[in-house]
């Protein structure tokens, strides 16, 4: 199955490493869209149907929590699962993300195994199994 995911993070390097990590986790056929904050993400969500949104928390203009809240208020967008990938590590913040409707949470710094575990929990096992030890894109952890 080909998935379509939106990566929302104000850091270009972080978007790049999340994409590489997802590919190395076996989701190699995934199509990726990118946004640098919540507002940009909502614009993309207005035009594209997605299987998953992966968002940072701390971003300018609209943070990840506000993005989740806006999505959960929308009849259509509320069906799209959201995975939060962030440096925020306090239990209170993690619980708040889940309470607002996040499907999962990954704390930075992350390992490919953590990303794979959360993706599999949300989307199921990838059909095209990749190797975390490397892959077609020479990604070695």
């Amino acid at each position: 199955m080909i998935y379509k995911m939106l990566i929302v993070d104000d850091s270009l390097p972080m978007r790049a490493i999340i994409i590489r990590t997802i590919k190395a986790s076996g989701f190699m056929e995934t199509e990726f869209l990118q946004a640098s904050n919540g507002e940009e993400a909502l614009k993309v969500l207005g035009t594209e149907w997605l299987d998953l949104v992966i968002t940072d928390y701390n971003m300018p203009d609209m943070n990840g929590m506000e993005l989740i809240q806006r999505m959960k208020k929308d009849e259509i967008l509320q069906a799209i699962p959201v995975l939060v990938v962030t440096t925020e590590g306090s239990r209170e913040k993690v619980e708040a993300f889940i309470q607002e409707g996040a499907a999962g949470y990954v704390k930075k710094p992350f390992t490919p195994e953590t990303i794979r575990f959360e993706l599999t929990k949300i989307l199921g096992e990838p059909e095209n199994e990749g190797s975390i030890e490397g892959g077609d894109d020479d990604f070695d952890f």
Binding site: D10, S11, L12, P13, M14, A16, I17, R20, N58, M59, P60, T86, T87, E88, G89, S90, R91, E92, K93, K107, K108, P109, F110, T111, D137, D138, F139
Partner: protein
Amino acid sequence: MREALKAAMTTSISEVLETMFFMTIEATEDTDWTDLTDSTASGEKLYASKINFKGPLSGTFFLMVPESILSAMTEMFMGLEENEVTETHLSGTILEAINIVAGNTFSKLDDQTVFDLEIPDSVETASLSSITQSTDKELIFYRIETPGGNLGLLLFYSV
């Protein structure tokens, strides 16, 4: 508190550099970082980033990285070849690095407490000496030894 912060900082920087940048490091507390900020002494451009935070403690983390090490970190982080690395990639990498180090430090310090991190920003390295001389806050500095040279992690804070 100071000892707990120091322990959290060293664990955090080791974890972040090893997990995300595949670098093994040795962190040593120091009081003098002028060799890092003096580019004429090293002959190499220095990049620096900062992130302000508020909570039970408030203050600023600074990360100082010489260009050659930052370039190697960026190649590793983004999966780029040396000739593909741009100024945008370098600044993006050092901003994300300080963001993760700061967030991870507070998780290690106390995961029951919320610390609000601002958006990370670049720092003019020429201003680093004056910033550090004019503060009345507590200060912790770690020299981070890597196979490619030294980085600096600096924290100003007040309770």
